[in-house]
């Protein structure tokens, strides 16, 4: 369904800009009776499905809400009760649980960006050809990641639907928007996180235009 998200990495491998175009993530809400067929486990202070895929709830999905009350980590937002305890106790059933794709925290995004930066460098070294570029396309069945590295070492990364076309054009346009509204801004320091309103607005416009044109070519 178009462009999912956009990342910009500086020449040191640090994430300087990130934008999620599709904020709607697939969620599944279902009422369960005791005992729970899913196996849940605690990963990084989040409750994640480990086993028992069914009805749209996949392995790796996080528990987002219990009986309509959203969770913060493993605790309920309202009264701080431990969700694992609530699920373990049979008297709370039937219970309504909402699962969805994990939302990445900023720290996780930064780690993923620097990991990609390293893989990119490894990619160019592993190549049997001399003077090979780094990773340009990374394709899975769910998404296609495309990367454009500028001559100054900045990497523009777009994660989009595999059927989306015109992503190379989008990457070049992103570079233009960056050179206009970030580099010409006197209040922006090089290699720092980009916090410019005009940059955000124009980048979103460019992404929307590209998404509309790209889907038409499918």
């Amino acid at each position: 369904m178009g462009i999912f998200s956009v990342y910009i990495i500086n020449k040191a491998g640090g994430l300087i800009y990130q934008y999620d175009h599709i904020s709607q993530r697939p969620e599944a809400e279902k009422t369960f009776s005791y005992p729970l067929e899913l196996v849940l486990k605690l990963v990084d202070d989040k409750i994640v499905v480990a086993f028992g895929e069914r009805d749209g709830i996949k392995v790796g999905h996080t528990l987002l809400a219990v009986n309509g009350i959203s969770l913060e980590g493993r605790y309920l937002q309202t009264d701080g009760q431990d969700a694992m305890e609530i699920i373990a106790a049979p008297e709370n059933y039937p219970i309504n649980l909402k699962f969805g794709r994990t939302r990445l925290t900023t720290n996780e995004r930064i780690m993923l960006a620097s990991m990609f930066h390293s893989l990119f460098a490894i990619g160019s070294q592993l190549s049997p050809e001399h003077h090979s570029s780094g990773i340009e396309v990374l394709e899975t069945d769910g998404f296609k990641l495309q990367c454009y590295q500028t001559m100054t070492g900045i990497k523009f990364i777009v994660i989009a639907d595999p059927k989306q076309t015109g992503v190379e054009v989008l990457l070049r346009k992103m570079y233009e928007v960056y050179s206009d509204f970030a580099l010409k801004n006197p209040f922006y320091s090089l290699d720092m996180p980009i916090r410019c309103d005009l940059f955000d607005t124009n980048l979103q416009q460019v992404i929307e235009t590209s998404e509309r044109q790209g889907i038409g070519n499918v």
């Binding site: 206009d180 010409k184 801004n185 209040f187």
Partner: protein, 181 residues
């Protein structure tokens, strides 16, 4: 720094300057001023001073090239000249609107929805009401002062960018006499 200003006022219509070049140069000017001041209002004053410097040097060039050595004496003609001719030579197009204040007969407004010097600049929240068009305000002030229309020009965030021109009382009185009012 003075050499930098000389480069800026080569905006005459025969030799078009790339907007990217100007934007990068102006960005450096703003950073240069920022490193030498301690507050936002000082920054705006410093940008205005730079603009005044440019305006003073540009005034003669402007009148030789655009006006054919003629001098404006009527206030309204001078203001229209600024809005149309002066704006066209500096920014490639005319200013959007010229307005007279309802409350104060000494005050005029030149309004532009998207000002060229502000096109690529996103002012962060901690800089408050900073408007880098203070630079242009300085140019306008110097041109008007040099043409014997003493005034003060400031830039504000209103309907885009508004330049508020406050003339001295003497200008209004003199203008009324010239008109024979």
């Amino acid at each position: 720094m003075i050499k930098l200003n000389h480069i800026i006022f080569y905006f005459y219509y025969l030799f078009q300057v790339n907007v990217a070049t100007f934007a990068l140069l102006f960005s450096e000017i703003v950073q240069y001023c920022q490193n030498r001041v301690y507050s936002v209002s000082e920054l705006q004053t410093k940008l205005s001073d730079m603009g005044r410097h440019v305006g003073n040097h540009y005034l003669d060039l402007l009148f030789v090239r655009e006006k054919g050595y003629r001098r404006e004496t009527k206030l309204i003609n001078m203001l229209l000249f600024i809005k149309n001719n002066f704006w066209k030579t500096l920014f490639g197009r005319e200013a959007d609107r010229l307005e007279h204040s309802n409350d104060d007969e000494r005050t005029y407004y030149i309004i532009e929805t998207e000002h060229l010097v502000n096109r690529y600049i996103s002012v962060p929240k901690d800089k408050g009401k900073l408007n880098c068009a203070a630079f242009t305000a300085g140019i306008i002030e110097a041109v008007l002062n040099g043409s014997n229309f003493p005034c003060k020009v400031t830039a504000h965030w209103h309907k885009g960018t508004t330049f508020m021109i406050e003339f001295d009382e003497s200008v209004i009185t003199r203008d009324k006499m010239v008109e024979g009012k």
